[in-house]
Assembly symmetry: D2
Homo-oligomer: 399 residues x 4
C-alpha cells in the first residue's frame, strides 16, 4: 500500500495550494444570479494583469488548453489561410497537426527537438513573403515535451523587421503565469493559457488572450465555430456571464490563485521559478547528465527534460519512481520517449519539494541501472538554493 504524499512532478497539472483547494470546495450556485459578476469580473481583470495586456481581452473557456488553441485559430482565420509554424516537440507538433486538420495551409519549419522557435528561419520566410500571404505566425513559448523556452520578443522583432502584418499566435500554456510573458509589449495577438499549470488549478479551464487586432479580424473570419465563438462570449462576458454553464468551482479557485500571484508579485513568481529550476539543472549536471534543451538559452524554468544515458530506458526511471517511491515524473513523449524523463517545476513549489524530486530521481536512476552518485544532485541543488536564498529574500522584500 502506498503511504504518504504522492509526489507530483509532472509539468502540469501542478500541485494545488491549500487555499486554492479550499476555495474550490463550494456548493453549486446560479450562474445567472444578479451578483454573479462580482465573482467573475475581477477574474477577467486579474487575468489581463497576468497576461500583461491592457488593450486586449481574455476569454475563459470550459476546456483544456487544446480548446483554446482551436478557439484562437477558428475565430480569426479563414479556411486555407497560410500560416507559419515550427515543430520541435510534441506540443508544437500537436498545434501544427490541429492547424492542418482545421484546413490551414501550414508552412512548418522542422527543428531539432531540444531547440525552440527558429528566429532566423522565421525571418527568412517572412521577408520572402512580400505579398503577405502568411496570415499568422505561431510560436510555442514553452515546449513542455523538451523543456525548451523560446524567445517570443524575438519573434516580434523578426515580424517588425520584415514589416510583416501577420498575427502572432503564442502557446503559453506552460509559461504564462510562470515565465515572463508580455502580451501587449510583444504584440501577441492570440495567447493561450491553461488552468492546470502556473495558475495552480485543476484542468478544465483554458484562457485565451486576444488583441484588438485579432478581435477585429474575427469579425470577418469564416472558419466555422460555435462553442468557441468570441461573439457569444463577448455578448455577456462584460456583465460577468457566460453563454453556457461555466465551471464556477474553478472560478473560485482562480480567484484565490490570482490573489496568490498578486501577493507574491508576478516578477517574484518568475524569479522563483528560475531559482528553483536552476537547482534542478545543477543537479542534472552533477549527475553527469544533460538536458534535452540544447543550449542554455532554451532552458525552461517550468520543466526540465533530462536525457538519460543510452544504456538505459527513461521509462524505467519513471516507472521505478512511481512504483517504488510514489513520485510522478513526466514521461518522454513521441520522439523522445524512452530517452528523457521530465521534472516539472512550476506552480506552487519550494526548495524542499524540488529536493524531494531530485533525491527520488537519484534513487530511480539507480533502480533503472544508471550508477548516479546518491546525494550528488541534491548537494548541488542545496548549494545553489543556499547561495541564492538571500538575494531571493531581498528581492521579495523590495516588492
Amino acid at each position: 500500500m502506498k503511504t504518504g504524499f504522492t509526489h507530483l512532478f509532472i509539468p502540469g497539472p501542478t500541485n494545488i495550494p491549500e487555499d486554492v483547494r479550499q476555495s474550490m470546495n463550494v456548493p453549486m450556485q446560479d450562474m445567472r444570479a444578479p451578483d454573479f459578476g462580482d465573482l467573475t469580473k475581477p477574474l477577467f481583470a486579474g487575468l489581463k494583469r497576468v497576461f500583461k495586456t491592457k488593450t486586449g481581452r481574455v476569454f475563459m473557456y470550459p476546456s483544456s488548453g487544446t480548446g483554446a488553441w482551436e478557439a484562437a485559430i477558428t475565430n480569426t482565420l479563414n479556411p486555407g489561410d497560410k500560416v507559419l509554424m515550427s515543430r520541435f516537440g510534441q506540443f508544437s507538433h500537436l498545434w501544427v497537426d490541429m492547424a492542418e486538420r482545421l484546413g490551414l495551409d501550414v508552412h512548418v519549419i522542422e527543428c531539432e527537438w531540444g531547440t525552440g522557435v527558429p528566429l532566423e528561419e522565421y525571418a527568412k520566410v517572412l521577408e520572402a513573403d512580400k505579398a503577405h500571404k502568411i496570415k499568422a505566425v505561431f510560436a510555442t513559448q514553452n515546449e513542455t515535451a523538451t523543456g525548451v523556452s523560446s524567445d517570443i520578443a524575438g519573434v516580434r522583432r523578426v515580424l517588425d523587421a520584415a514589416g510583416h502584418p501577420a498575427m502572432l499566435f503564442v502557446d503559453g500554456v506552460s509559461s504564462i503565469g510562470s515565465i515572463d510573458f508580455r502580451m501587449d509589449e510583444w504584440g501577441v495577438d492570440l495567447a493561450v493559457a491553461g488552468s492546470q499549470k502556473g495558475f495552480m488549478l485543476p484542468a478544465g479551464l483554458s484562457m485565451l488572450g486576444v488583441s484588438q487586432r485579432a478581435l477585429e479580424d474575427s469579425k470577418t473570419a469564416t472558419m466555422k465555430r460555435c462553442y468557441f465563438d468570441f461573439v457569444d462570449m463577448m455578448k455577456v462576458n462584460d456583465d460577468g456571464y457566460f453563454p453556457y454553464t461555466p465551471p464556477t468551482q474553478l472560478f473560485h479557485g482562480l480567484k484565490t490563485s490570482l490573489a496568490r500571484i498578486e501577493r507574491e508579485g508576478l516578477e517574484n513568481v518568475f524569479a522563483r521559478h528560475y531559482r528553483l529550476a536552476e537547482g534542478v539543472r545543477r543537479a542534472v549536471s552533477a549527475w553527469g547528465l544533460r538536458l534535452c534543451a540544447a543550449e542554455p538559452k532554451w532552458h525552461s524554468d517550468t520543466v526540465s527534460a533530462i536525457v538519460v544515458p543510452e544504456s538505459i530506458d527513461a521509462r524505467e526511471v519513471i516507472s521505478a519512481g512511481y512504483r517504488n517511491y510514489n513520485i510522478s515524473f513526466g514521461t518522454g513523449l513521441s520522439k523522445v520517449m524512452g530517452k528523457v524523463f521530465r521534472i516539472g517545476h512550476l506552480g506552487d513549489l519550494n526548495e524542499g519539494m524540488c529536493l524531494t524530486a531530485l533525491s527520488l530521481a537519484e534513487m530511480s536512476l539507480r533502480d533503472a541501472g544508471y550508477e548516479v552518485e546518491l546525494g550528488s544532485g541534491v548537494a548541488a541543488a542545496q548549494g545553489w538554493y543556499r547561495e541564492s536564498h538571500e538575494a531571493a529574500q531581498l528581492r521579495q522584500a523590495a516588492e
Copy 2:
C-alpha cells in the same frame, strides 16, 4: 448578510451530494500514470449503463454540454447536410442556431413554447423525404427553458414508420440520469449529457453517447474538427487515457455519483424524480397557476416552468426569492422572460428540499404581488408526498 444555506433550485448546476464533494477534493495526479485507467475505465462502463447502451460508446469532453452538441454535429455530418430540428424553447433554439452556424441546412419546425418535439410534423417531413436528403433528426428530450419533456421513443417510431435512415440526435443534458433514456432501444445515434444535472457534479464535463452507426459515419464526415474529434479520443480512451489533460477531479466526482446512482437504482432515480416533481406540480395547481408545459404529456420531471399571472413579472418573483430568502429559482429565458419562473427538481433531492422551494416560492410570489394563499402549495405537496411515500419505499426495497 446572508445566513444559512443558499437554496439552489435552478435546473442545473444541481446540489452536489456530500460524498461527491468529498471525492472531488483531491490533489492533482498524473493523467499518464500506468494505473490511471483504474480510475477512468469504470467511468466509461458506468456511463454506458446510465445511457443504456451496450453497443455504443460514450465520450467525455472537458467542456459544457454545448461542447458535446458541437462534437455530435462536427464528427458525423458534412457541411451543407440537411437536418430536421424543432424549436420550442431556448435550448432547442440554441441547438438550431449552432447547427446553422456550423453550416448545416436546417429544416426547423417552429412549435409553440410549452410543447415538445412535434411527432406528427416530423412524420410528415420524413415521409415526404423519399430521397433521404435528411441526414439527421434532432430532438431535445427535455427542454429546460419550458419544462417540457418529449417522446424520444416516438421519434424513433416515426423514423421507423417512414423507413427513414436519418441519424437520431438527442439532447439529454437535463434528462439523462434523471428521466428514462434508452439509447440502444430507441436507436439514438448521438446522445448529449452534461455533468451538472443528473450527474450531480459541477459543470465542466460533457458526455456524448455515440452509436456504432454514428462512429462509422464519422469516418467519412468532412466537417472540420479537432478538439472534439472522435479519432483522438478513440486512440487512447480504451486504455483510460485522453488526448489532452482531462479534469481528473471531476472523474473522481463522477466515480462517486455513478456509484450513488447504482446504489439507488436507475429506475428508482427516475421514480424519485417523478414523485418529487409531482409534488411541485400539485403545489402549482393549488396556487391557481399553471405550468408552461401545455399538457401533462409534456410535463418534465426535472424542471417546472411556472407561468405567473399577467399582472406580475416573474423576474420579480425570482428577485424577491434571491434577495429576501436566499433562494435561486431559474429565470425565464428569451420568449418567456418575465412570464415564467422555474423550479429545478433534479439531481440529489428529497421531499424537504422541494418543500423549501415551494414555501419560499409562495413568499416570493406574494412579495411580487400575487396573493397566493400561504401554505397552500406546501400542503398540496405534503399530501402527495405522504400518500406516495409508502409505494416509493416498497419500490426501492424491491430493487
Copy 3:
C-alpha cells in the same frame, strides 16, 4: 437510499456555514511555531467580544462543553463548598450531578420542567444566607432540553439585592453567540460555551469566560485539577500557545465563524435568532400544540421543545422524520422523553431552513398519528417571516 441533504434541526451540533467548513479543511501545523500566535491570539480577543467581557479572560479547552463546566468548578471552588443551583431540565440536572460528584455541597432548588432559574427562590435563599456560606450561584441560561431561557441579569440583581458575594456561574453553551449574554455587565464569574452551537463549529472545543474575581479565587482553590487547570493555560495563552496539543483545525474554523458573527453584527445575530424562533412558535400555535416552556418569558430563541398530544409518542414523530424524510429533530430527554420533540433553530440559519423543518414536522406529526392540518404551521411562519422581514432588513442596514 437516502438522497438530498440530511436536514439537521437538533439544538447542536448546528449547521456549519460553507466558509467555516472550508477553513477547517487544513493540513496540520506546528502548534509551537513562532507565528502560531498570529492564528490564536485574535481568537481570544474575538471570544471576549462575543462574551462581552473586557476585564475577564476566555479559555479554550479541547473538550465538550461538559469539560468547561468541570473547569469552572474545579478551578475556583473547594471540596465541600456550598453552592446554590436549580434543576429544571436535563442539562441543569447534569450540572447539579457534576457538582455533587465533584464534592460540592449543593443546595438544589427543584423546579418544574418548562420553567427556568427561580429568581424568587434564589432571593430567599441568598438573603437567608447571612453568613455567606454559599460560595457560588449557578444558572443555566438556556436549558436545551426544554427550550427555556432564564434571566441572568435577574440573578445578578438578586445577588446584589441580597448583598451576597457568591460567584455567579452561567451555563451558556446553547446561548452564548445566539442570545444576548453580557459577562461584565451582569457580573458573571464563570461562563461556559461550546463550539457546536452558536459558534457553528463541530464539537470539540469548549470556551470558558472567567472574571478577574474568579481568577483570583482560583489561586487558592483546592479542588484537584490538572487537564483543566487555569494555571497551565495562563502560562502560555498570552503568547498564543497551549499546554497541550490543541485542535488547530477548529481554531481555523473559529477564526472564520467569529468573522461571520462580526460581519453580521452580534445584535443582528440575536435579532435573527428571535425572528426565526418566533416563526417556529407561531407554527406550533397553528398546530394547536404548545411549547414545553411554560410562559413566554421562558421562550428560548435557540430551541423549541414542542409538547405532543398525550395520545401520541414524540419519539414516533422524531423517528418518522428521520426514517421518512431525512430530518433530525431533537429528542425529549429524561423526564420529557416521549412527550416533546425539539426543533433546534440556532447557528447558521434562514427562513427557508426553518420552513423545511416545519413542513417536515407536519408530515412527521401526521405519520405519528396527530392530525395536524398540513401547511398550517408553515403558513403561520411564512406570514410572520414576511411581516417581520422589512424590519429585519432595516435593522441590519442600520448597523
Copy 4:
C-alpha cells in the same frame, strides 16, 4: 510569501492522508440518531485491534492525550496512593507533575534524558515493596521529547518477577499505532493514545485502553472525576453513544485512518516506521552528529532528537528551517532546549518525505553554522532506503 507545501516534521500532529482529510469534511449530524452506532461501534472494535486488546476496552474522549492521562489516574486510583514513575524527558516529566498535582504519592526515579524506563531500578523498588503499597507503575513507551522508546514488555517482566500486583500505566501517545504495542500480552492496565500521532488525525480525540482489572478498580476508586468518568461512558458506549457531544468529524476521520492501518497491516505499519526512521538515523551518523537517545535500544522509530554541536543553538536550526525553507522541525523542550532539534517520522510518510526533511535539515544546519556536508545525510538515507526496499515490498506482499 511562502510557497509550496509546509513540510511538517514535528512528532505530531502528523501529516493527514488525503482520504482521511476528505472523510472529515462532513456536515454535522445527530449524535443521538438511531443509526449513530453504525459509525461509532466499529471504531471501538478497530481501536481494540490496534491496542491489541481483546479483554479490555477503549474509551474515546474529546480531549488531548493529556486528558486521557488524567482519565487513567482519576478513574482508578485514590488520593494519596503510592505510584512508581520515572522521569527522562518532558512528557514523562509532565505525567509525573500531573500525578503529583492530582494528589498521588509519587516515587519518581530520575533518569538521564536520553535513556528510558529504568527496568533495574523499577525491579529494585518493586521487590522492596513487600507490602504492595505501590498501586501503579507508570511507563512512557515513547518519550517524544528525546526520541526514546522504552521496553514495556520489560516492565511487565519486572512486575511479574517481583510478583507485584500494581497496575501498569503506559503513555503510548506517540507510539500506539506506530510502534509495536500489545496491551493484553504485556498486561497493560491503562494505555493512553492520541488522535494526532499514529492515527493521522487532528488533535482533539484521546483514546484510553482499560483492562478489566482497571475497570474493576475504578468501581471503588475515590478520586473525584466527572468529565472523564468511566461510568458515564460505559452506560452508553456499547450502543455507540457518548455522555456528551462527541467530535463526530474526528470519528469519520478515525474510521478512514483505521481502514488505512488495516489495509496496510499493523505489522507493516511498524516495519515501515522502523525503515523510515533508520534512514533518518543513518543520515544523522553521516552528518557526524548523534541522537539524544543514548543507546540503540532506546532509539524511537517515531521521532529522532538530534543533538547539535555545542557551538550552535538547535533553535537556530529550527528557526532557519521554518523561516528559510518552510519546514517545521520539533524543538528541544525544557532541559534539551537549544541542544536538540527533532524530526518526527510517524504517521503517513514515505521515503521522499523523509528525504525532504533530511535535505532541508542539512541546509538549516549550515544556516545555523554547522558545516555539515550537503547531501551527505541524504545519500546515507537513500542508500538505506534502496537496500531495504525489496525486503519491505516482499514483507508487505506476504501479508
